[in-house]
Symmetry: C2
Subunit: 286 residues, 2 copies
Amino acid sequence: MSAHPRLSLNQATIKYAPLAEALDVAREAGYTSFGAWREPVAEVGLDRAVELVKASGLRVSSLCRAGFFTAQPGAARQTAIDDNRRAIDETAALAAAGAPGSAPVLVLVAGGLPAGDHDVVGARARAAEAIAELAPAARAAGITLAIEPMHPIFAADRGVVSTLGQALDIAESVAPEVAVVVDTYHVWWDPDLAAQIARAGASGRIASYQVCDWMTPLSADSLLSRGYMGDGHIDFGAVTRLVADAGYDGDIEVEIFRQEIWDAPYAEVAARVAAAFDETVAPFLS
Amino acid sequence: MSAHPRLSLNQATIKYAPLAEALDVAREAGYTSFGAWREPVAEVGLDRAVELVKASGLRVSSLCRAGFFTAQPGAARQTAIDDNRRAIDETAALAAAGAPGSAPVLVLVAGGLPAGDHDVVGARARAAEAIAELAPAARAAGITLAIEPMHPIFAADRGVVSTLGQALDIAESVAPEVAVVVDTYHVWWDPDLAAQIARAGASGRIASYQVCDWMTPLSADSLLSRGYMGDGHIDFGAVTRLVADAGYDGDIEVEIFRQEIWDAPYAEVAARVAAAFDETVAPFLS
């Protein structure tokens, strides 16, 4: 079997597979790239994860995810900053362990409103400050901090950075090495999408392109309303053309949170992802 | 009992009350204004609805809702346009029947992507075309078409107009009498909210201000994740100040879709709404 040379299987799509098995699934399905998550890495320990990645021969396309730094100044915020520093080191180690072409990219999710806090403007400012604080460590480690704007459905409880334009405002205000993630699920609805993807490309700030579909009706757990590309409402041709025209030529991760997919055999999922990618995304890559 | 002089009870907050009972509930709870919906009006017929509104002594703050005109050219689109023309007439009749200070405002929701259609840009363009087509009839009837941008959670299946900025782009491109609705539930997350509310105010385009809270976790039916102001995540002080500073001095509707609230006694809901309004919104009105 082979998969598209730019296709990366994100660990979250086969969420229940331990790291070793997830890497095997990807390789056996013909993938050459893998998007890692911190939790399965932590389960085996970073040293063992590095060994597994080396042995897999796969590229590492990103590490998901750190961030969650909207707490008010104090212990909770410091805990978050410390955790993000560890994530930077993990990203560097895993990218170095991956095959050539691995991307030293750490995906950052801002986090939601602290309990009882209604000030989304303030929470966004704190997220920007945290990213600024982390930028020197990222620079020193040679990794890219990639801010992932999240669909406004998550603004209250998961990610207060809601648009690509806002993520770029933060990135540009902080440092050259801070970039953004374009995830179709989060950004497809944005009326300003074309302009903001072009803007991100012009400053070399597209660090990751992730794809999955927006399904309706939403799942009862709305976090899990993602689906295979082509099963929902997103125009992957349109978004992929924008990303390609903006100069992004890195790996493209398929990251799907959906209970039925998590419950399916991993190999079947990997094959289905590769087929959906060939049909919906690959034809629009320049 | 009395309620704040600018507070309007939107029919949808007591969804199961027939029109006559809903008007009674509002008046008995001390409201002076009522936000009407088309379905309960249709249940009794427009003539009878006009009588009921006249007898109530209440202002009518808006009629919800028409729109849903994203279909491709053809029979479905024509049906939608015809229905919107009827809604314009209904709005004029109800506003004329309401007490002085009634607002001849018809709330428009764009509608979602037609089945199988992935082109959100095209659907938005068709919505704008439909509004342009309806503008002369609205002008002739002396009513304001008010575009309600919907939270991006609804972009696929209910409303492709996703931001206040986008609604204003459409309004400005169409005609002076086309305006917008600022609904906290739909717009609270928008990083550009302050600028867009100011922009709407500067051209006199805030036709309606609606309030309710964004609750998490989302309800299994995410449409019903609204709540009483103060129970969720929205900063009503911040948004209300923006709307007041933008010059809006009309009625403010409380419109809550939530199963527990629909299932509660109407009078209890009306009282609770008035109390929440006094606490979260009223202090920030200029």
